[in-house]
């Protein structure tokens, strides 16, 4: 199906049985969704290795293998040779629609250009990231590189697509035209296919369109769209994002092995995986009027999504992941930062060798408890670094003029402040193997709490078996089916973390709390610094917590000001975190190991601590 993603197809027949796949960089995951009574449920899942590269070089092989596994498990006949039987015929034959997302072959890799790096350069980056791309470089007139270095860089990278921005409408054209000249001189070549022209989207100053056309029309597959920054005070990212999706289908996917066939099989346009996950995250935030942070930690990359006050942002940390990129987490975080989460001592050489061995054999899993603890320590650092990256890009617009009054004399803020406010955060959603498949759900919860350090009261959840991409693409054709499955089968609420802000010595008072449970019983106790407490509170249940912070400690309403909130339960429960914010671990090795062992035991994190 090759229609534009900006206009999802209208499907007039009833959709009772749906099969969806996500073609990831290593595995293709298939799920079956069926209408049971009045509601849709996810019923079976299957997976198989992705087959984009040699010796198969046909992505549909992996798709058919994954669907065949669903066939085996469900007893439903879905495949007729290499074809998917649509629509349903009778009770146990066929499906009504097949849909898919894809990040195979390294996903959609883009290079973006702007005039000023932290203005149009950043806007272009946000447009590309929001469309589900990995941004491999941002070129700008003021990026500090000499002209010939820029040209060399464009030549050496092999992006799937380039997005050019720069200048406000009616502004100067020189710098935009200059960048177009550099691109033309570099004669950039696409990653796949030696013979086709590289897709290039121009979304800059409209006054420069004629010159840009003249310079680049013959050298690339040029598409011109509206300016992403028509005036400094406003971003207009949607037209460029839609063009990115369209070109992804028309050009990039056509070149990837087997995708032409895949597109014919699918009943709706194929979406880049992160774009589909982004849709789901946006939908949750909108439906529940929440501020949220979502994370999808994969083998190669970590995607972070956020919605604060209705503003959606996405970033991808291309080399932070748990298998292919695991060694890069070590390189970026440093050994000491990883070691601080490991509750035992291990020599540096052994740990380094173990991490490299995981990198070269990425499909292996931890077999012993200490191996699991090391992987979860690395995950905490990957999550933490990806959020730092996200905060630096999820900002207000930079370069915007601000009106100042006399009251600003003492509190001046720069434009371009990050939009991520941990005190306003309502929900953290985790997805990806290490979070979705942790042997105990408390492990997922504590990994996210340690990495993100939520403040005040924050709810946490995980994707049960990794199906957010499938539901994202499904939501474009059947919102009800996507919502039903999301609520009932996908989202697993872990519970709520209550964390006062402030620091103190271990054992000093942090706060007094009073919890009124659903059965009206109450628990009234003090929380001390250095303590971690876990209370069971079932999914779907709510309790009321009143927290009276100690002197100098803040629950979001000011130092020492009491806060009363309704908190939601989950499969883990209510976590009271008295470890202080920002979270500091003891600097000395024995002290750190003792503290970790105490916390892990308090919440029953690992089998040995029982």
């Amino acid at each position: 199906m090759t229609v534009s993603t900006s206009t999802p197809p209208k499907i007039d027949r009833p959709l009772n049985v749906i099969v969806a796949t996500d073609c990831g960089s290593t595995t293709t995951k298939a799920i079956l969704i069926e209408k049971v009574g009045d509601e849709y449920r996810q019923t079976y899942r299957g997976e198989a290795p992705t087959t984009v590269e040699a010796p198969f070089e046909d992505v549909t092989r992996g798709v058919l293998n994954a669907i065949a596994e669903i066939e085996e498990l469900s007893g439903r006949k879905i495949l007729d040779g290499d074809k998917i039987i649509t629509p349903c015929r009778g009770d146990k034959t066929g499906v009504d629609i097949y849909i898919s997302t894809s990040s195979a072959g390294g996903g959609l890799q883009m290079m973006v250009t702007g005039v000023v790096q932290n203005m149009t350069g950043e806007s272009a980056q946000r447009a590309a990231l929001g469309a589900g791309a990995i941004v491999i470089d941002v070129l700008a007139a003021n990026d500090g590189r000499l002209p010939h270095e820029k040209i060399e860089r464009i030549r050496s990278m092999r992006p799937d697509m380039i997005l050019m921005s720069g200048g406000t409408d009616g502004g100067a054209v020189t710098h935009v035209v200059e960048m177009a000249e550099y691109i033309a001189a570099a004669e950039p070549r696409p990653r796949f296919g030696v013979t086709y022209k590289l897709p290039l989207i121009y979304a800059g100053n409209k006054e420069a369109q004629p010159q840009v056309r003249k310079i680049l029309e013959d050298k690339s597959a040029l598409v011109v769209t509206e300016n992403i920054r028509p005036v400094l005070e406003r971003e207009n990212l949607a037209p460029a994002r839609n063009k990115i999706h369209d070109l992804f289908l028309e050009h990039v996917m056509q070149q990837a092995p087997g995708y032409k066939k895949l597109m014919e099989m699918a009943g709706a346009p194929i979406m880049p995986t992160p774009a589909a996950v982004g849709l789901i995250m946006e939908a949750i935030a909108k439906r529940e009027h929440l501020n949220l942070i979502g994370v999808d930690i994969g083998g190669a990359t970590t995607d972070v999504f956020s919605v604060f006050d209705g503003v959606f942002n996405r970033t991808v940390s291309a080399n932070l992941g748990m298998s292919y990129s695991v060694s890069n987490v070590l390189a970026e975080a440093g050994l000491a930062n990883i070691m601080r989460w490991v509750p035992f001592t291990i020599d540096e050489q052994t740990l380094r060798n173990r991490i490299k061995n995981k990198m070269i054999r990425p499909t292996t899993i931890p077999q012993t408890l200490d191996e699991l603890q090391i992987e979860q320590a690395i995950a905490r650092e990957a999550l933490r670094l990806a959020l730092i990256h996200h905060k630096s890009l999820a900002t207000g617009l930079k370069g915007v003029q601000q009106e100042r009054t006399i009251s600003d004399v003492f509190e001046q803020q720069n434009s371009g402040k990050t939009l991520i406010d941990m005190l306003k955060l309502d929900l953290i959603v985790g997805s990806g193997g290490i979070l979705s498949h942790a042997p105990r759900r408390i492990q997922s919860m504590l990994m996210m709490v340690d990495a993100y350090e939520p403040m005040g009261c924050t709810r946490l959840s995980v994707d049960s078996i990794f199906m957010m991409p499938h539901l994202g693409v499904l939501s474009t054709i059947n919102e009800k089916a996507a919502t039903d499955v999301f609520v009932r089968d996908c989202m697993v609420y872990l519970g709520t973390c209550v964390a006062p802000i402030g620091q103190g010595r271990d054992g000093d008072p942090c706060a007094d709390y009073e919890i009124t449970w659903p059965d009206a019983k109450t628990t009234k106790e003090p929380l001390k610094f250095g303590e971690l407490r876990l209370f069971p509170l079932e999914s779907g249940k709510q309790a009321t917590i009143k927290v009276q912070p100690a002197k100098g400690v803040n629950m979001g309403s000011g130092a020492g000001v009491a806060v009363t909130k309704d908190v939601h339960g989950g499969v883990v429960g209510l976590l009271l975190d008295g470890r202080g914010r920002p979270l500091r671990l003891p600097a000395d090795q024995p002290g750190r190991v003792t503290a970790l062992a105490k916390w892990f035991k308090a919440v029953g994190l690992y089998p040995t601590s029982e």
């Binding site: 010796p55 293998n65 010939h148 200059e178 000249e181 010159q211 292919y324 890069n328 899993i365 012993t368």
Partner: protein
């Protein structure tokens, strides 16, 4: 899951392989189907466009971009030499004359009246694509490259650094569990492919570089020695372009791990023969692993073609690829079909491995690799 194990590394005495040799941009293929080629023979050629140098004439002459055409001595398409005058102004007094010279030799690619800059391009560089292995051309892809077929002995490594090279195979150690020390390297090993045992130390690497070996094949190294060799911490396993003086191939992994007996024996049997090796590794779906190819002369290419393995079977030789028994080799003694709870509390598919000493261990299926070509 039908494929819930890691496809292993091939170690085989005789197989037929195809190597696709592709130009990075369209060029000319210089061989035809059926040609016999040597590893160092050119099979295709392309012209890499030269580097581009922008010169902003408007700024340097202090004139408006639209006016630069009036000052140009050369025009688009002209050939210029280094320091040749590109443009000059015509002041009334000669002393104030400004001449703008070309910083490089090349051609004028374009002149822009919007930005006021001239783009100069250096002459193209000829890129020659070598056959890499001795063999026969079985396919030519016009303007793009060729496919070379060869009957050979093939050893795949797990990780490598450095590009394609070739050299005679030399055994530096007597047993697969013997580590390579600086003393193992001597001047006779210059341009050779040196095979070691369980470990290569940082000092031994230095000595190998001093001797000028073409490549080293060894069981393992320490990550920190790799970092010292490269000068940076390798984050993602995509390699092949490093220039450290030799191509390095690990057959087992990181740490001190004896080379698999089968690999050691096979390489020993080819001492003195010329091998084509590549350290290029790319660990993603459809991985590229480093390889040692020893072409077999006078053998019909109708030999055993590599078959695609369908699954794991009882008796298959396997290598454990994750701690706590990392690097141990045994054979599959049981394949329970259900899920088994392992010490992490995960429920996974497992298999039982029997070691040479008769001991057995239960291992997750994802944590073993089959030693292919057995």
């Amino acid at each position: 899951m039908a494929h819930s194990y890691t496809p292993g590394l091939t170690v085989t005495d005789q197989t037929v392989i195809h190597r696709r040799r592709m130009l990075p941009l369209p060029g000319t293929v210089v061989v035809t189907v059926g040609d016999l080629v040597r590893s160092d023979q050119v099979v295709a050629r392309a012209e890499l466009p030269g580097k581009v140098f922008p010169v902003n004439l408007a700024n340097q002459l202090s004139v408006a971009p639209g006016e630069i055409k009036d000052y140009l001595i050369k025009k688009a398409g002209d050939v210029v030499g280094k320091d040749e005058i590109l443009a000059e102004n015509k002041p009334l007094i000669k002393w104030f004359k400004t001449e703008i010279c070309s910083p490089v030799a090349g051609t004028i690619e374009s002149v822009s009246s919007v930005t006021g800059q001239v783009l100069l391009r250096e002459p193209p560089r000829v890129l020659q694509l070598l056959a890499y292995v001795n063999g026969t051309i079985i396919e030519t892809i016009p303007q793009q490259g060729v496919v070379v077929e060869t009957t050979c002995s093939l050893v795949q490594g797990i990780f490598g650094i450095g590009g394609e090279t070739s050299g005679e195979i030399v055994m530096a150690v007597k047993a697969p569990d013997e580590a390579l020390t600086p003393g193992h390297f001597n001047s006779a090993m210059k341009d050779k492919v040196v095979v070691g045992g369980s470990f290569l130390s940082a000092e031994a690497m230095k000595q190998a570089k001093a001797v000028g070996v073409a490549g080293i094949v060894v069981g393992g190294i320490h990550d920190e020695d790799l970092r010292a060799l490269l000068g940076y911490d390798l984050g993602v396993a995509i390699t092949g372009t490093e220039q450290v003086g030799f191509t390095l191939i690990l057959t087992e992994g990181f740490g001190t791990i004896p080379m698999a007996a089968k690999t050691f024996k096979l390489l020993s049997s080819h001492v003195g023969q010329k091998a084509s090796i590549s350290g290029a590794t790319q660990i993603r779906a459809g991985v590229i692993r480093p390889e040692i190819i020893v072409p077999r002369e006078h053998t019909s290419s109708k030999g055993a073609a590599q078959s695609q393995r369908e699954g794991i079977r009882l008796g298959d030789p396997v290598r454990i690829i994750r701690d706590p028994m990392f690097g141990r080799i045994g054979e599959v003694s049981a394949l329970p079909s259900g899920l088994t709870k392992i010490p992490t509390e995960s429920e996974v598919r497992v298999l039982e491995v029997k070691f040479a000493d008769g001991q057995k261990a239960v291992i997750p299926r994802t944590n073993i690799e089959v030693i292919e070509g057995a």
